[in-house]
């Protein structure tokens, strides 16, 4: 009896090791991702729901059910189909790119790169958000241009720097050739069509819920589930750090995002917004389709305008959706352009009040956090990772800590401690009264 248990746990351990993939064991797939086989194994090890019948752990039933649209109820066939499609490289022009290329199972369902690489090695402009928990977001993409997972799933397939298929028709043809007719008829009761492709992928993605972190145990009453530093960090999160204003975590919205769009100044480091805005309006005058918007958003300079490209609202210039806090420890690099490598960099960015620009969200201001307080907040953030990825989380924490020890490129103590004010240099070309 004991031996059987031991053998079984040994097998599980091996499976986990193989599945979650250490660098050594992994085979490289195209474009820097793990191979599709490795990823499939990793997925198997996570033992996710196969038929979507049970509410995933960590999420409230009403919230979960509310996130499932009426025309795409979950069942085993749809999930299996979607899973297959997620790894289906036939959906790309040269057969090398699938969803899983940039949303790699073994890399926290993202690609751990600043921006993603697609067809022909082309680089996009935006960091790949993690598929984990994406089902619970109110909109998809950094600029929220997709209303749902279904809506999002269909766009990269047709994007020239991502999967690069010419048209929906071509996608259908490729899938027919790969033998998808029957599975679709079984899953959706109709002929293979593009919208159902989107639905199936979305159905699979809805099983990717990872909300069982040490922080949840702490919220559940287990005081010792997170360290004292992390507890202090949580206090700061709700208080001096002002994080809660956009990243509140609660039952109806467990992800730690307000699903709104804010300009926190990340893009202001690069571009002149006003010139870009004028250019964007001119381009969109010629062709204002969704596809064009998608191309512009991911593939050009205009990407930096963020939500503005969708709403043309003055308030949305350079604004991107507040990203989720869940599993943030393992989804580096951060921000819409992946420009922040570690959580310490993220803290430095907020601590100094973002980056001054004409459209900076008024809620961003210098926080005057001390080094110790930053450590506490970072410790807290690392407790938000699902326990299935605990090992990866620890490894990431060590890696980021080492990197942050060497360089803190966004750190600015004068701004953080309000010795110099945000806008002071821009407005005055120098410090007020010689600076104090």
């Amino acid at each position: 009896m004991q031996t059987r248990v031991r053998i079984r746990s040994l097998v599980l351990a091996i499976l986990l090791l193989v599945g979650l993939g250490t660098a050594a064991a992994q085979q490289k797939g195209a474009h820097g991702a793990a191979s599709m086989d490795d990823q499939q194994r990793g997925l198997a090890a996570l033992a996710l729901s196969a038929d979507g019948s049970a509410v995933p752990g960590g999420v409230d039933a009403q919230t979960w059910r509310g996130a499932i649209p009426a025309d795409n109820a979950l069942d085993a066939k749809r999930i299996a189909l979607g899973r297959k499609l997620y790894f289906e490289t036939a959906l790309s022009k040269d057969g090398t790119v699938a969803c899983a290329t940039c949303h790699d199972v073994t890399r926290s369902f993202t690609d751990r790169r600043p921006v993603s690489e697609g067809f022909n090695g082309a680089l996009g402009r935006r960091n790949a958000p993690t598929t984990m928990n994406a089902a619970l977001l109110h909109t998809q993409f950094w600029d929220g241009r997709a209303e749902s997972l279904e809506d999002q799933a269909g766009q990269p397939i047709l994007n020239s720097v991502e999967m690069a298929l010419e048209s929906e028709a071509q996608a259908i043809t490729q899938l027919k050739v790969a033998g998808y007719d029957a599975p679709f008829r079984e899953a959706y009761g109709r002929d293979l069509n593009y919208e159902d492709v989107q639905r199936a992928i979305a159905a699979f993605e809805r099983t990717l819920i990872f909300l069982e972190a040490p922080f949840d145990r702490f919220l559940g009453g287990s005081h010792g589930a997170i360290s004292a530093d992390a507890r202090a960090g949580f206090e700061l999160f709700n208080g001096k750090g002002r994080c809660v204003a956009c990243h509140a975590i609660n039952r109806a919205n467990p992800l730690g995002t307000d699903n709104r769009f804010h300009n926190i100044g990340v893009s202001a480091r690069k571009q002149n917004f006003e010139q870009l805005a004028v250019k964007a309006l001119a381009l969109l005058k010629e062709d204002s389709s969704e596809k064009k918007l998608d191309e512009l958003a991911v593939g050009t300079d205009l990407s930096e305008l963020g939500r503005f490209m969708v709403t043309k609202s003055y308030a949305d210039i350079g604004a991107f959706r507040t990203s989720q806090m869940r599993n943030v420890g393992i989804t580096a690099p951060y921000m819409h352009d992946g420009s922040l490598q570690t959580l310490w960099d993220v803290m430095d960015h907020y601590n100094k009040g973002g980056e001054a620009n004409r459209y900076l969200d008024g809620g961003i201001e210098a926080l005057a956090l001390s080094d110790a307080e930053i450590e506490q907040l970072v410790a807290f953030m690392f407790t938000l990772t699902d326990e299935r990825f605990a090992r990866q989380n620890d490894a990431e924490q060590a890696r980021q800590r080492a990197l942050a020890g060497k360089q803190r490129p966004f750190r600015n103590d004068d701004l953080a401690q309000r010795k110099v004010l945000v806008f002071e240099e821009r407005a005055l070309g120098g410090k007020l009264g010689g600076g104090k």
């Binding site: 204002s288 709403t311 308030a315 004409r358 806008f423 007020l432």
Partner: protein, 396 residues
């Protein structure tokens, strides 16, 4: 014949349909701000103001003589050329920054930061405005260090600055430091065919001597908006006489723009959104065909028209005020309730577009929001045309 609003809404609908696929699922939910899509579809865009502003302009030519009271349909239809700042005939613009309420930086940097942001905004305008009006309440408690700090910051404005005094600047030393820094509080000047007059309209009857208040106590009494110990604002007999004299030689057809800190009408006495001798001041202004009053003190979008006088409030850089429980002019379309979690919400700076006929469009450049324009067509038609958007979260 379709009204401007109908045409505008139809144009917007067409653009939005073009933006999305026809099925409901893919229809992009865009906020009210996406009316700007209408601009993308057809209107001209100026380099520094790409907003709804210009799309909504109904007519190029305002009605001559007295403003129309009747049916908007009887007036000239929309002009084919969409007016923008770039292509309009000689008129001019000036910017405004107002109500900064500075403390010394070591005590409170938030208000300093906001004023810096406003200066940055105005300096980034392209083309630059002809001048910048500072609308009063530069300091919070009238202290020398506060006024000096404000003066230093305003020096970095590229365009020339015209200063106006507010009660927070005045009641500590009764304007001593203000005069040293900025000269006399009331003055007049002419610019491109428009007569400008700047008033000190925060003159209060002496309440401090009988109460034996120290200067700081006096200042703090006036600084409390809801402090009933102070007296109502006035322009005062002396200044009214000065105003009468200044305007005596100005032809009645010349456009007149008055800068005043208090509103020059009576809105809400409890908060001194009030000028006690408003009727007398208005009587002096009445003979002029085109009069606009630009006032501070109220920290919100405020619009009024009394006879032929148009009144526009200015935004504050420091904080917004709630709308008064009574007395709100009918023409005022409130701004959306500010979000307390964004300290810049409900604040901002702005611009006034002075058209060749002397009437103005008032542009409120709210931070983190779409700008709001209160156009001369709206004013001239007493609110029947070209109405700014109604708020979706009104005051409580």
């Amino acid at each position: 014949m379709k009204s401007i609003e109908t045409k505008y809404m139809e144009e917007r609908e067409a653009v939005l349909r073009a933006l999305a696929r026809l099925d409901r699922r893919a229809f992009l939910k865009v906020s009210a701000g996406a009316l700007g899509a209408a601009i993308a579809a057809g209107a001209g865009v100026t380099p520094h103001s790409f907003s709804l502003v210009n799309v909504a302009h109904a007519q190029d030519k305002p009605p001559e003589g007295s403003p129309p009271e009747g049916n908007p349909g009887t007036k000239a239809g929309p002009s084919p050329a969409k007016p923008t700042l770039a292509n309009k005939p000689a008129g001019f613009t000036f910017a405004y920054i107002s109500d900064s309420h500075l403390y010394k930086r070591e005590l409170n940097d938030r208000f300093v930061r906001s004023l810096l942001r406003a200066v940055d905004d105005v300096n980034a305008m392209d083309p630059q405005p002809d001048f910048v009006l500072y609308g009063g309440d530069l300091a919070q408690l009238g202290q020398r260090e506060e006024l000096d700090l404000g003066a230093e910051i305003l020096k970095s404005l590229k365009a020339p600055v015209r200063m106006m005094v507010g009660e927070h600047d005045w009641y500590l030393d009764m304007g001593a430091r203000w005069r040293e820094l900025f000269g006399e509080p009331n003055y007049a000047f002419e610019h491109k065919g428009v007569q400008f007059v700047v008033l000190n309209s925060v003159v209060e009857e002496d309440f401090w001597t009988p109460a034996k208040l120290s200067p700081m106590e006096r200042m703090q009494t006036v600084a409390g908006l809801d402090n009933g110990k102070q007296r109502p604002f006035t322009v005062g007999e002396e200044q009214r006489a000065w105003l009468q004299k200044e305007l005596a030689s100005v032809p009645k057809t010349k456009p007149l723009i008055v800068f005043s800190h208090s509103p020059l009408y009576k809105l809400y006495k409890q908060w001194n959104f009030w000028t006690d001798d408003a009727e007398q001041v208005q009587a002096i202004l009445k003979p002029f065909q085109r009069v606009t009053v630009i006032h501070g003190h109220t920290h919100q979008i405020l619009t009024n028209r009394i006879g032929n006088i148009h009144f526009h409030g200015m935004l504050s850089t420091a904080w917004p005020w709630p709308y008064a429980p009574q007395g709100l002019p009918a023409l005022t379309i409130q701004m959306n309730r500010p979000d307390p979690f964004n300290p810049n919400d409900g604040c901002g700076d702005g611009e006034v577009l002075v058209h060749p006929d002397g009437l103005v469009d008032k542009l409120y450049k709210l931070w983190n929001r779409n700008p709001v324009t209160v156009s001369r067509a709206y004013m001239s038609s007493s609110g029947k045309q070209d109405s700014p958007l109604a708020p979706n979260s009104g005051s409580y």
